[in-house]
């Protein structure tokens, strides 16, 4: 079974460190980034499934980072971590392509649950993509040969 790869993006270093330990202990593969730019950089190198993204960050903020992630890595699922209590700020995130949101201070269990959900969704999506590709191959097996 594929291991869930989670990336935490927050400017709070200690949060990254501790949460990484926690999630690692639970058996997840955890990456961290302390800024939006760093997150985008790491996404290029690693096949990360789920990103937990803090809304409020210096320089490139969460919303901007989200848009860039969705643009360049559409398959990556993003969960917004918001300090705002109201649904409105989360709604903006959801509209821009986030799959879910968490309110600070978020419970680790909740974080894992939502990450798993997102991962499931991603897996289903990947499955669909594979199925679609398989169908295409079935339709014209010659292309495979061509491709070779």
């Amino acid at each position: 079974m594929e291991i869930l790869k989670i990336m935490l993006v927050d400017d709070e270093e200690r949060f990254l460190l501790t949460t990484k330990k926690l999630l690692s202990k639970k058996g997840y593969e955890v990456f961290t980034a302390s800024s939006g730019a760093e997150a985008l950089e790491k996404l290029k190198k690693q096949n990360i499934h789920v990103v937990i993204l803090d809304v409020k960050m210096p320089e490139m903020d969460g919303m901007e980072t989200l848009k860039k992630i969705k643009k360049h890595f559409p398959l990556v699922e993003v969960i917004m971590l918001t300090g705002h209590a109201t649904v409105e700020s989360a709604v903006d995130g959801l509209r821009s392509g986030a799959i879910d949101y968490l309110m600070k201070p978020a419970d680790i269990k909740e974080l894992i649950e939502k990450s798993e959900e997102a991962f499931e969704k991603r897996k289903r999506l990947e499955e669909k993509i594979r199925m679609a590709q398989a169908k295409r191959i079935m339709k014209s097996p010659r292309q495979i040969i061509k491709g070779l």
Partner: protein, 561 residues
């Protein structure tokens, strides 16, 4: 504290209002008094002086006339003619026609023998050789005596003069009836107490004195009469009775008599006293009026000040509701946001610690012990307290992030019962009876349904909480009333019979973070948020309460246009 402040302001205003007109008022009266009384005094004294002057002239001319009468007789007739009784009698009659004052007429030879006499007494043949007047007239040729009694024992004075005919001296003498002479002087009447009299050089009265003091007595007041002077002297002096008199005195020219006119000071200055009383009256009345007006104005000003201050305070309190609430919201939001980050870290740390702890336990590295239990309990507490903090920050963020108001039309008839239904179960469980009084034809109001719902639920929940606190699960009475007022506005009232709110808390009830609930039970933001919502809707939220009786919250909302 506050009363003292108003008292001191009142005192200052009172002083200013009394002194500002008071000082010029007293100055004007004082100056007026000074000039007025000085002028009255001068006039009164001048008056007496004039009287003295006039009378002196009168007396002097009387004397001069009598003297010239005698001179005329002396020069017109020879001594031989004058000694004839018929002749002398006729002459006396002639003289008496001119003046009643002539009492008798006598002729004397150089030896002082009364050679002829015409008059009511039998004086002929008496010798006056040693009489004082006789000696004086021989020496000076002319003499006017002081008043004396003489042989006849009747007060009179004499005018005598000598003439020398054929080397022989003879003397003519007339007695002047002092009674008639008296009248001349006595006639003088000034005011009620004014009088005049004559004194000789020895200070003996030459006329009677109205105020007492008979002819030829010493007068009862000691006038400084010895020194002779010309002109008129005026002075104020106490007499024997101790009363003050205004005196005017002058010496007669042809006789060493002092004419004294006097009037009691109080009488002479009666106008002065009248002026004094008038001024005192004006002063008292004016003073009373000024003081009364000052008190009246001060009371009014201070009352108005108190009212203005009170209004200002009320406005201030309302301002807390509006602008300060927004400011506070912004500040609190930033604060809560910043707190959330460390809270997040703490939460993660706590989770990690718990995880490590349970790992240890699973591995058997940590045997069960009392300390371990305590540690686990502490860990749990940290989690609980972080949860509490996060509840507060969430509430603050909610409070700060008040959304824009939707402008929807709402029908209270439908809207309110729907909300009340949401709490009916809870109310039933707590033995609270709900009474709804919703007017039938309420105008639609303008507002945000979701937010208005939040406000009403908050009020209903507060009411129920308060009633349970007071009555337990039996006896709560909750009234929800909606009615429109004359201006088309709608009033929604939520009234309970719970514990009520005391006066001190009533002031702070809409302030953020103010709560009377036990620690951890309330954030103190509910009513403050409600207030903000209603304010944004253009409405007003008010509260009335009495400790122990219950509370009434009233929301007034504008009608939909």
């Amino acid at each position: 504290m506050k009363n003292d402040y108003y008292k001191s302001i009142g005192k200052t205003i009172l002083k200013a209002i009394i002194l500002t007109p008071g000082i010029p008022f007293i100055l004007i009266l004082g100056i007026g008094y000074y000039y007025f009384t000085t002028s009255i005094q001068t006039t009164s004294i001048d008056n007496i002086k004039r009287i003295v002057e006039d009378h002196r002239h009168m007396i002097e001319s009387f004397m001069d006339e009598r003297k010239s009468d005698l001179e005329f007789v002396m020069n017109s007739y020879s001594p031989a003619e004058l000694v004839q009784p018929e002749k002398l009698s006729k002459i006396l009659l002639d003289l008496q026609k001119k003046s009643d004052a002539f009492a008798d007429l006598g002729i004397f030879n150089g030896e002082g023998l009364h050679v002829a006499y015409q008059g009511p007494y039998r004086l002929k043949g008496k010798s006056y050789k040693d009489a004082f007047w006789f000696k004086e007239v021989i020496n000076r040729n002319y003499y006017i005596s002081d008043i004396f009694l003489g042989y006849r024992q009747v007060p009179h004075f004499i005018i005598a003069m000598t003439n020398t005919v054929d080397g022989e001296k003879w003397i003519i003498r007339a007695s002047i009836d002092s009674h008639i002479f008296n009248k001349l002087v006595e006639k003088v009447r000034i005011g009620k107490t004014g009088e005049a009299y004559l004194l000789n050089t020895k200070g003996i009265l030459q006329t009677a004195c109205r105020s007492g003091g008979n002819l030829m007595d010493k007068p009862l007041d000691n006038i400084d009469h010895i020194e002779k002077y010309s002109g008129i002297k005026s002075f104020i002096k106490k007499d024997f009775t101790g009363r003050k008199f205004v005196y005017s005195t002058t010496w007669l020219k042809n006789k060493n008599w002092l004419l004294v006119a006097r009037q009691e000071k109080a009488d002479a200055f009666s106008a002065f006293n009248a002026a004094l009383y008038l001024i005192i009256t004006i002063l008292v009345i004016g003073g009373v009026i000024i003081t009364a007006v000052a008190f009246y104005l001060t009371t009014r000003i201070v009352r108005r000040l108190e009212r203005v201050d009170l209004e200002k305070e009320n406005i201030n309190q309302q301002l807390i509701g509006a602008s300060r609430l927004a400011e506070l919201g912004e500040m609190a939001t930033g604060f809560a946001h910043e707190i959330n980050n460390p809270l997040q870290v703490m939460k993660s740390e706590q989770s990690l610690m718990e995880m490590i702890l349970s790992d240890f336990k699973e591995n058997g590295q940590l045997p069960e012990s009392e300390n371990l239990k305590e540690l686990e309990d502490s860990m749990k507490q940290i989690e609980v307290q972080i949860g509490r903090c996060s509840t507060i920050t969430q509430a603050i963020l909610k409070f700060g992030r008040q959304k824009d108001i939707l402008d929807a039309k709402l029908d209270a008839q439908d809207f309110i019962p729907e909300i009340v239904n949401m709490v009916t179960n809870a109310a039933n469980d707590n033995g609270i009876a709900i009474h709804q009084e919703i007017e039938n034809r309420l105008p639609p109001i303008k507002g945000d349904p979701a937010q208005l719902q939040q406000v009403l639920l908050n009020l209903l929940n507060n009411a129920m909480y308060s009633m349970v606190e007071k009555h337990g699960v039996q006896g709560g009475e909750l009234f929800i009333k909606a009615e429109s007022d004359d201006n088309g506005k709608m009033k929604i009232q939520v009234r309970d019979n719970g514990v009520g709110i005391d006066e001190e808390n009533l002031k702070k009830i809409f302030s953020p973070f103010f709560t009377t609930k036990p620690v951890g039970k309330g954030t103190g933001l509910g009513l403050s948020v409600c207030f903000g919502i209603i304010d944004k809707m253009g409405g007003i939220m008010e509260v009335e309460s009495k400790k122990g009786v219950g509370a009434t919250f009233t929301i007034t909302l504008p009608a939909a246009t």
